[in-house]
């Protein structure tokens, strides 16, 4: 049980490449912090710097207020679950879990008591005398967790612990990890490249890109108020649509509609006349299904739908569009960086399953322009973020926001509302320090809301 603080932590490998670049992050005692980002962005490196397996090139690492830069891993009292579990194949499950205790010289009775307790928690009791090679992937994963929780570590560190499991088991284990963390109330740093895990598990999520921290915020804030193009594109499934937005005569011209340029944005863009508009698929609607009293807030426009996918609880429509070369190039780069599987030259629209919109038809869609994010294509900065925050503060308790992330079955939606203000205080400009997070995790402290 200890807070973890990083001050301008940097890791430069032998080849001179900064795998982790000037990261500052405060992880509160008992908080569940997620490090997320595309593969190769330096998440594992940062985690390994916390645990002491990787030297820190510059900056300070503090655990429980104490500087640990020069301490060996065994003196940091952290426990870690590795991506491939790193179980000792020559030892039984019992001995694997007991390993850290044996090194400490704990008495045999105490070891027996604590191993059995951990085994009960993780439902491993029948398997204690077996070898890791005789276990299934999920069981091995639980043994690795057992080894982590058996001693009173200051913090748990997970490096993509679920990436070797199949999708169904991953969902189960995700809930299991969350329940365990809530029960033990131990500071946890969890590395993943899977945004569903990031959104469902974390009190706060730190998004990384090429070694640089992009934004640290609650899952909800990341989804609704992304600081830049990268975060906006990374969080959300299906991903946010990026459309070219030409600025002409104080109008924002998107491929299918135009609307007045918001004053706040006009003040920021200077003379540039081409922006990128980001619109979440679910912010579109079939205009025939929009409430009368809501209709006036948005704009109705006509598109030609290419393909529709009806999934029962949801319906997606794909609408192709043309984009100028400059924007296409920016988006192609972004897409490559995000390992995105979606083609962005088409727009994805999430519709009510009751909608009658069909393939190849001309259809009327509806969009509230205040939900559109505008990004500067050169810096990636979200120009409408302040507006979104203000609008949401005004609409305070409105439960209108749709559930983020993929429609995973077992995924508990991050229902605990982030306390207003807590999130916004925790973020600052992209790439710069993201320290100064809230002293308390923004989630409901009893955990019951999320762990169900």
């Amino acid at each position: 049980m200890a807070p973890i603080t990083m001050n301008h932590v940097t890791k430069v490998y032998g080849d001179g490449y900064p795998a982790v670049n000037d990261v500052s992050l405060d992880i509160a005692d008992g908080e569940f912090m997620i490090l997320v980002g595309p593969s190769g962005c330096g998440k594992s490196t940062l985690l390994r710097m916390i645990v002491g397996l990787e030297d820190i090139s510059s900056g300070d690492m503090l655990i429980g207020g104490e500087r640990v830069n020069e301490k060996a891993p065994r003196d940091r009292n952290l426990s870690m679950v590795f991506q491939n579990y790193a179980l000792y194949p020559h030892l039984t499950v019992y001995e694997n879990i007991a390993f850290p205790l044996r090194l400490k010289g704990v008495s045999d009775e105490e070891i027996k008591r604590r191993v059995e307790e951990a085994a009960t928690t993780l439902e491993l009791t029948e398997h204690l005398q077996r070898k890791p090679s005789q276990l299934s992937g999920g069981q091995r994963q639980r043994v690795a967790m057992g080894r982590a929780i058996v001693r009173q570590a200051s913090a748990f560190l997970f490096d993509e612990p679920l990436s070797n499991l199949d999708a169904k088991l991953r969902g189960q284990m995700r809930t299991e990890i969350l329940r365990l963390q809530r029960r033990l109330d131990t500071t946890t740093v969890y590395v993943t490249h899977d945004q569903t895990e990031a959104m469902t598990l974390g009190d706060r999520v730190a998004v990384m890109r090429k070694g640089v921290l992009q934004q640290v915020a609650s899952p909800r804030e990341l989804y609704e108020q992304p600081l830049n193009l990268f975060v906006a594109g990374f969080i959300g499934s299906p991903p946010m649509n990026f459309l070219p937005a030409a600025i002409e005569n104080n109008q924002v011209k998107l491929p299918f509609l135009s609307y007045p340029l918001p004053r706040e944005v006009a003040a920021q863009i200077g003379s540039s006349d081409l922006l990128i508009a980001g619109i979440r698929p679910e912010h579109f609607a079939d205009s025939s299904l929009v409430d009368e009293n809501k209709r006036d807030r948005g704009i109705t426009f006509e598109v030609k739908v290419d393909v529709t996918e009806w999934l029962g609880s949801q319906q997606y429509a794909y609408v192709p569009f043309e984009a100028p070369d400059e924007i296409t190039r920016h988006l192609a780069e972004l897409q490559q960086e995000l390992d995105s599987e979606h083609m962005r030259t088409q727009m994805i629209v999430s519709l009510d399953p009751a909608s009658r919109i069909r393939d190849g038809a001309k259809s009327e869609l509806w969009l509230d322009p205040s939900r559109v994010h505008l990004f500067d294509p050169r810096t990636g900065k979200n120009l409408t973020r302040e507006m979104t925050i203000a609008a949401q503060a005004a609409a305070a308790p409105a439960p209108a926001a749709p559930a983020p992330a993929a429609p995973a079955p077992a995924a508990p939606a991050p229902a605990a509302a982030a306390p207003a203000g807590a999130g916004s205080a925790s973020t600052s400009a992209a790439g710069a320090s993201a320290t100064g997070g809230p002293a308390e995790p923004p989630a409901a402290p009893d955990g019951s809301v999320r762990a169900t």
């Binding site: 397996l53 060996a72 991506q83 491939n84 790193a86 000792y88 390993f99 850290p100 090679s133």
Partner: protein, 284 residues
């Protein structure tokens, strides 16, 4: 379609017959000398020229003879002692060296590996003359260390190669997990890495032991008395039960006596090696 489907089985059967036949030929070719030596060792000295493959009278007399001859028993003692010591030293040193090569990045790593390979393929016979003179000068001639030193130096390179390949197969995380769990670097090595490398260590030990056990060139050149002469060298000096008999059958018995332990050793360790390799899976 149908014609190829029906034509396939006879073809497969023919291939199987050929490969089984080939296997039998190879076994006969390799086993024949050994069986012949075994048969010789069971003939009485006078029966040597009976022009038959099998003895006219089966006898264990040759074995009694060799175990009564101090030339042989001393040599057996020397062989066991020298081979074991050379193996232990070689394997321990090779384990540390291979670990360093597999795990650490240090300047000259490639140079060391290339040098090791160069030594491994170096023609050992070329060294015999100079070693002979040198050992006489430094009083290592006809001593145990005089043989142990060349055996260690010539088995070390191969041992290092074999073991570093094994260490490279062991995931880094194994050791890092141990360190995070509270182990010192030494504990991580002994408790997490060495047990996993055990099959590799056994393989290496067997290779090293063989090399020392069956060496003839060094043994004949660097020894002169029963003090350090090993069995392969001693067999050449064998005279049998009396001066007036052909020592062939006794030599055959001696050869069998030094071969059997090797066969047993291989069978025992082979099981361990296979068991160790299949139990070692980290993830599935």
């Amino acid at each position: 379609m149908t014609s190829t489907a029906t034509a396939a089985p006879p073809k497969q059967r023919r291939q199987r017959t050929i490969s089984i036949g080939g296997a039998i030929l190879i076994v006969i070719y390799t086993m024949l000398p050994i069986v012949w030596i075994l048969s010789l060792s069971l003939k009485s000295p006078g029966d040597l020229t009976n022009k038959k493959f099998l003895p006219s009278h089966w006898t264990l007399g040759n074995y009694r003879t060799v175990f009564k001859t101090s030339l042989f028993t001393d040599a057996l003692r020397n062989s066991i002692g020298i081979s074991l010591i050379a193996t232990v030293i070689g394997v321990v040193v090779a384990t540390f060296a291979a670990y360093a090569i597999a795990r650490l990045d240090f300047p000259g790593k490639r140079a060391i590996l290339s040098l090791a390979l160069a030594i491994a393929i170096f023609p050992q016979v070329a060294l015999l003359g100079s070693l002979f003179s040198m050992w006489r000068a430094v009083k290592l001639y006809d001593t145990w260390p005089g043989l142990i030193i060349p055996y260690v130096s010539f088995t070390l390179p191969l041992s290092i190669w074999v073991l570093s390949a094994f260490f490279r197969e062991i995931p880094w995380e194994m050791e890092q997990a141990a360190q995070v769990d509270g182990a010192t670097a030494w504990q991580a090595f002994t408790k997490a890495i060495v047990p996993l490398a055990a099959p590799g260590v056994f393989t290496t030990a067997i290779i090293a032991f063989f090399a020392a056990w069956q060496d003839f060139a060094f043994a004949i050149t660097l020894t002169s008395t029963n003090r350090a002469r090993t069995v392969p060298a001693a067999l050449a000096f064998f005279t049998g039960a009396s001066q007036f008999q052909q020592p062939t059958t006794a030599i055959a018995a001696g050869a069998i006596v030094v071969t059997v332990p090797i066969i047993i050793l291989v069978l025992v360790f082979q099981r361990r090696i296979v068991a160790g390799l299949t139990a070692g899976a980290v993830k599935g």
